[in-house]
């Protein structure tokens, strides 16, 4: 079970209070009508799904209800950092 630092509550909490909401940094296309079916399908469904460093979105569901980003190694499950929405990760895959 993960031990997750909530960047808003500013302390570690148990994974039970959170849930994962998928890959981070997938902005909704500004002009959906201009997207081809392929582009729209990729926005909705296609994911990096990396083995290794991954940036994902989590929400402190039972706590402050805020979403935030997490950089995590999907192999070792180490959490490298958490950062707020709108911020960029400092740890990235090689």
């Amino acid at each position: 079970m993960f031990h997750i630092y909530c960047p808003h509550c500013a302390e570690y909490r148990e994974e039970e209070e959170f849930h994962a909401a998928g890959q981070a940094h997938i902005p909704r296309p500004l002009d959906p009508e201009a997207c081809s079916d392929k582009e729209w399908g990729e926005y909705m469904f296609f994911r990096k799904n990396p083995r290794g460093i991954h940036h994902e979105l989590w929400v402190h569901a039972a706590g402050c209800r805020k979403f935030f980003n997490m950089t995590r190694n999907t192999q070792t499950y180490e959490i490298k950092e958490v950062y707020k929405i709108g911020e960029q990760p400092s740890v990235v895959a090689e």
Binding site: F45, K48, P50, R51, T74
Partner: protein
Amino acid sequence: MQQYSGFGLFKHSLSHHENWQRAWRNPTPKKKYDVIIIGGGGHGLATAYYLAKEHGVTNVAVIEKGYLGGGNTARNTTIVRSNYLWDESAHLYEHAMKLWEGLSQDLNYNVMFSQRGVLNLGHTLQDMRDIERRVNANRLNGIDGEVLDPQSIKEIVPHMDCSANSRYPVMGASWQPRGGVARHDAVAWGFARGADSFGVDLIQETEVTDLIIEDDTIIGVKTNRYGDIMADRVGSVVAGNSAVIAKMGGFELPLESHPLQALVSEPIKPVLDTVVMSNHVHGYVSQSDKGDLVIGAGIDGYTGYGQRGSYPTIEHTVQAIVELFPMFSRVRMNRQWGGIVDTCPDACPIISKTPVKNLFFNCGWGTGGFKATPGAGNVFAASLAKGEMHPLAEPFSMFRFHDGALIDEHGAAGVAH
């Protein structure tokens, strides 16, 4: 191939079992193959077997980074059923079911396929509507199944709490008598032995480190042990690691790899003669021939390649089992483990061409991979042999996520593996 039989066992016992042939060779790979299959799990080995057996394509290598059948084949809860909702998936899984029914004899390897029946429980009115819908569709698709009331369920599973005062009383179930369980390792080994007997090279402990692509067409793979190995066609059958291979091909997939956990009790005397699954209370259980209660959990919510998930998932599953079978409270959990399941947004697999010519993918089975093993291998083999997708595989193109023709099996798949 040396034939296995009871008499054979007797004969070999006289020579202290010193003269058994190898089940498969340990060959050094050739420079080039007609077809390379990446991934020596159940699906990859079945693909190789059917390529050789049904299509005469024997110049085939299966490249496995670990040992044969060491991925999800070794980690699943071995349930086999074909009672899926939509025509596309029902036909595919039923194709597999028919192959299961003669598999031990076909492979001359007892995969211990035990058709003890599968119950999918309903606990709410909507569960029951969904069950009726699915069973009706199954029946018209030629798949066995009926809707049972709590009393009939009690006759099949006398020890389950079917009383009206449980938190979510059992209101009914779908029942597929032909469903059941099989011995997971034996499936991989049986296919491996069969494929090897046709001359397929099974290359273990060898990792594909890159794909060799020219003009958007795959021509071979790079490996960590044997350098470049060339091929006319390549099939990737690597389940949870599909994204890693796709990345080598320069594309992404509509997949996420999640931990999926399972656990077993200590072995106990026979007490449960069928497979019981419940989406609503979120757990499922069967009893293996060894006596273990084999229990499956839900998928963990995050991406994970660690072959382990989070403890609360185990807790919720055990709670569900104790809720269904209060008497199991004093039985003890022996072991837990995790696999990596590649899940598609519509809970259906991908059997597909890819943006790279001659590179085919079989992946995205989520929780449904084991039960499809012979069927998936069979249609993937046909597709690799002909270069065109088998009709049963066609609806499972990865490009359905562009045009929107999804096959939403969440209801039928759910926790129910």
